[in-house]
């Protein structure tokens, strides 16, 4: 069984701050991390490798430093790591990204593809389903539990807003996972020590041979017209002081709502 795990190295947006003076995002000094939803995707794949003896291939699309993340994947015992990197792929929206990823995945011919539900920088949750569409395979998003895996199909629990479904789907298929599906194991010393001896397959457009109109900025139907941070209001009316003052202020504010 071959399992592909799609992963993304992202800035740790939960620790990002906005420069109060310029109103722009402060990107320096922010750690690069494995996208949280992707970590559970990787753990799901590694568990299946342990129970069913599958081959786990991690694929990431990004700049050269994304290789660091792939080393950490090797540190956890994945079998192969692929870095899709080429200036031609840069600036892609989800449509162009999915094209590129799908082309790389086609070369691997996996039975099962795991992806995190969404990345904490883009926040779209679109790449997983769009890759599945490109590959013309079924998808199940919001997977909250893996129930059973055989060599032909998988049974999972899918989480909706107020109910859960247990679903069975045959291979090949793509699953997107929520962070809470599972907790990624630590690296282990033996695999981590060998991680730099393993090859990282770097795939550029000379290998994928995609048309310029389908990749990168040019291949993106959506474009960013502008970006801005939430305006930081300088005028903040705060009430300091003892609880009595606070209580009065809150009561008078609440008054119209509690008749």
């Amino acid at each position: 069984m071959k399992i592909v795990v799609l992963m993304k190295q992202v800035p740790n947006t939960t620790e990002m701050l906005i420069d109060k003076e310029t109103g722009t995002l402060i990107r320096t000094g922010v750690d690069s991390i494995m996208n949280p939803d992707d970590t559970s995707a990787l753990e799901a794949a590694l568990k299946i490798k342990q129970s069913n003896g599958a081959e786990v291939i991690v694929i990431t699309m990004g700049p050269p430093q994304a290789a660091n993340m792939l080393r950490e994947c090797y540190g956890r015992g994945v079998d192969h790591a692929m870095l899709i990197s080429d200036p031609a792929f840069a600036g892609a929206d989800t449509w162009a990204t999915s094209n590129t990823l799908a082309a790389a995945i086609k070369r691997v011919q996996p039975d099962l593809i795991f992806a995190g539900r969404q990345a904490i920088d883009g926040d779209t949750a679109q790449v997983g389903p769009q890759v599945a569409e490109r590959l013309n395979i079924p998808q199940i998003t919001y997977v909250s539990k893996i129930v059973e895996v055989t060599s032909d199909f998988i049974v999972v629990k899918k989480h909706y807003e107020d109910f859960d479904e247990t679903l069975k789907v045959s291979f090949p298929c793509l699953l997107t996972t929520l962070e809470q599906l599972d907790h990624l194991r630590f690296m282990n010393v033996t695999s981590a020590w060998q991680a730099f001896d393993k090859p990282i397959e770097t795939v550029n457009n000379q290998v994928l041979m995609l048309d310029a109109k389908d990749i990168g900025l040019k291949g993106s139907p959506t474009q960013v017209r502008k970006t801005f941070t939430r305006p930081v209001s300088s005028e903040v009316k705060l009430i300091h002081g003892g609880s009595d003052e606070a209580v009065k202020a809150i009561l008078s504010t609440l008054a119209p709502y509690i008749q």
């Binding site: 540190g75 630590f186 690296m187 282990n188 010393v189 981590a192 020590w193 060998q194 730099f196």
Partner: protein
Amino acid sequence: MNEKHLLLKKLYQQFTAEIVRPIAGYVDEEEVFPVETVKEMVNAQMMGIPYPVKYGGSGADTLAYVLAVEELSKACATTGVILSAHTSLGAHPIYAFGTEEQKQKYLVPLNKGEKLGAFALTEPNAGTDAAGQKTTAILKDGYYEITGSKIFITNAGYADIYIIFAMTDITKGTKGITAFILEKDMPGFTIGKKEKKLGIRGSSTCELMFDRVKVPVENRLGAEGKGFGIAMTTLDGGRIGIAAQALGIAQGALDEVVAYTKSRKQFNRSISQFQNTQFKLADMATQIEAARCLVYKAAVAKDTQKNFSTEAAMAKLFASETAMNVTTMAVQLYGGYGYTREYPVERMMRDAKITEIYEGTSEVQRMVISASVLR
């Protein structure tokens, strides 16, 4: 240190943050041996870091192992010593002096973490004067009969495999000491009283009692009379582990106190803005960095040189004294709060003290270093 070490360091840091740090206070307060932590260390394959893959180890080097002890000790010195005693003292003698059969039977499970190791040399009347062993091992028909006792044995009660030393020939002094591999359930071998200690309170330190324990001849480690040499060589390596523990304790204390001085305000400013505080922190940081250089150098020496005793002794001597100085100063900088158990620095200060004592007191280290200097 190369990229492999850096990747391992990241693993150790993640592990420590998630598994070790949250319970460090509890382990100390309740004197609990962190069984779950050890299970997680086994899963992360941390129990045989410097040993070859063919013997169940990770195939990494001594520096990789030292980094593990250091990172763990930054949060919890107890956890650091559990790993150090197991790896340097429990496994090493078998790796260096064992037969192939002994390696397969004992070293492999130790390195895989299936079994925990311990090392028992010290006796009530034989501490620094290790040659004053009283435990005896009398050769009988196909086995040795071992009688005596050991004290202050780290990991006792939780370990499965014990490297112990006994006199096979009381007339020969140090040349009459022999090493043996004992298993915990051998009849006649019991664990005695558990010590209540000043520091590393979660570490299980107990007496071992041998009442005519029958130990098969196959379990003799090395030849008769070679035990003292095995013990000394092993302790040389163990020293580096303890030096790493001390280094970790010191760094952990510095990290805590730096954060504290930034947030603690007196006289309308952070105390980190007072020059006295700044100078103290500078001294602490520099001393730790110097200790680090000695510890890492000793780790590299162990892998590249035949004799590394001096490097190991210097590392342990300096790192343990650094740990004591830094943690004491940390408590001072914390002021009254540092003296309470609400904050971790008092524990770190209590933990630091043992590093100047076990696996060769600082006095012993000075003896080793001066002997080398005066050669």
